[in-house]
Symmetry: C2
Subunit: 217 residues, 2 copies
DNA sequence: GCCGAACCGTAACGTACGGTACGCCTGCCG
DNA sequence: CGGCAGGCGTACCGTACGTTACGGTTCGGC
């Protein structure tokens, strides 16, 4: 389930003009939320509605193209799972936590998640699946190799990488995402994010750190 | 901020008929999502649209009344913070975790959160604030006395009840709520919820349990 | 039995918006 | 230079839905 083949890179077959149009739609989505109109997109992008329909089919097509376009912009570099000690593992986890908090508190992420959640009710399109695939599941794909390497190096101890990841996810995100989506003002400064990242990492290490660590004497 | 005086009990000044109408609207909200029409509500509730407008002002008024009505139905009993030992504290925490997972995975909670998130973008009404107030913040109000009692009894150790609560929240909910809101199929059986509740509680105790516990010899 | 208020059912109105058609301009190709 | 494909701007259509108006019905009070 939840395949949604959202990982095939559709951004390759987009002309520069089309990308510009999608960027305009994205900005408008951040400003207006789901109640953006085709006319507004056309005006903002300085193109005609007919072009929008020719390129994207209908309104839902434009929305999914916009979401996929944003997703394609944050492709990530695979981590190099080489020589791992406790400090490098800690740094890596803190980096993931900090990045993730920055993402989910960004304006565009909030706007995208809002429309995806709204559309998830009436299953017209797969916005929810796309967002999930490029958000939470992409994060898991990136983080799990690190966790497994940490286990291999004897630094971490867990039975299942999936459950370990989900606990890390919970420790990092806590109630932040749902509060932001529900409109709670909750300014996350750079410093607060950094603090949360080290706290979450410490807690995760306390839960899943191997008993036979460097302090094992 | 986020006051939204959503805790004044408006359900007292509702006639039985009005409650029935709101129940119909609620069921319809679960089925149809945010795209429910006034006509549909009137038909389902066997009342006239004129009555809907007379009672609730406009569509947004009906929506907020529905959300508040649902919120008023889950008023909770205050816990008795008496004689607390580790087993009773554990049981209490597991109860909170299990209840919370049951709530956020229920159809009505998902539907309500979906519309509230959708409306949070364009601040026409305060659905997001209401849901937040009766969801996450109500849980905090109920749980914090337990945490403080646990600290008082020497069973827990934390500096700030708020941050301790948020960690507990993260350990319990993890990625469940956002996945459900985004439409991920994710059936939580009674057994799975129970297992998650004990796991989350154990992890929380591992993080915040006092070092000088019953095993302190 | 009668009155008025509340309410039901439904028809009607206004508008916003998705979707389409058409005229015009511009740049490319032969 | 003529045609033409692509694209802009805009006017237009159809429809769904929020909102209002109105006639008919029930019901409590005198």
């Amino acid at each position: 389930m939840l395949q949604a083949n959202a990982d095939i890179d559709t951004s390759a077959m987009l002309t520069e003009r089309q990308k510009a149009v999608l960027d305009a739609a994205l900005r408008l989505l951040v400003e207006e939320g789901d109640n953006l109109t085709m006319t507004a997109v056309a005006r903002r992008a300085s193109c005609s509605k007919e072009t929008l329909y020719k390129w994207f089919g209908d309104r839902d097509g434009l929305l999914t193209a916009t979401v996929q376009w944003q997703a394609s912009k944050v492709r990530v570099v695979p981590v190099d799972g080489e020589r791992l000690d406790l400090t490098s593992l800690t740094a890596s986890l803190e980096g993931f936590a900090s990045d993730w908090l920055k993402v989910i508190s960004s304006d565009t992420s909030i706007a995208l998640n809002r429309v995806a959640v709204g559309h998830a009710g009436s299953g017209k399109d797969d916005l929810g699946a796309i967002v999930l695939e490029n958000g939470r599941f992409a994060l898991a794909r990136r983080l799990k190799p690190v966790l497994l390497a940490g286990k291999q190096a004897g630094l971490l101890d867990f039975a299942d990488a999936e459950t370990a990841f989900r606990s890390f996810f919970g420790l990092v995100a806590r109630d932040v995402q749902i509060r932001l989506l529900l409109g709670d003002r909750l300014e996350l400064t750079e410093a607060a994010i950094g603090g949360d990242a080290v706290r979450a990492t410490q807690q995760f290490l306390a839960l899943f750190g191997a008993k036979t660590g460097p302090q094992g004497l």
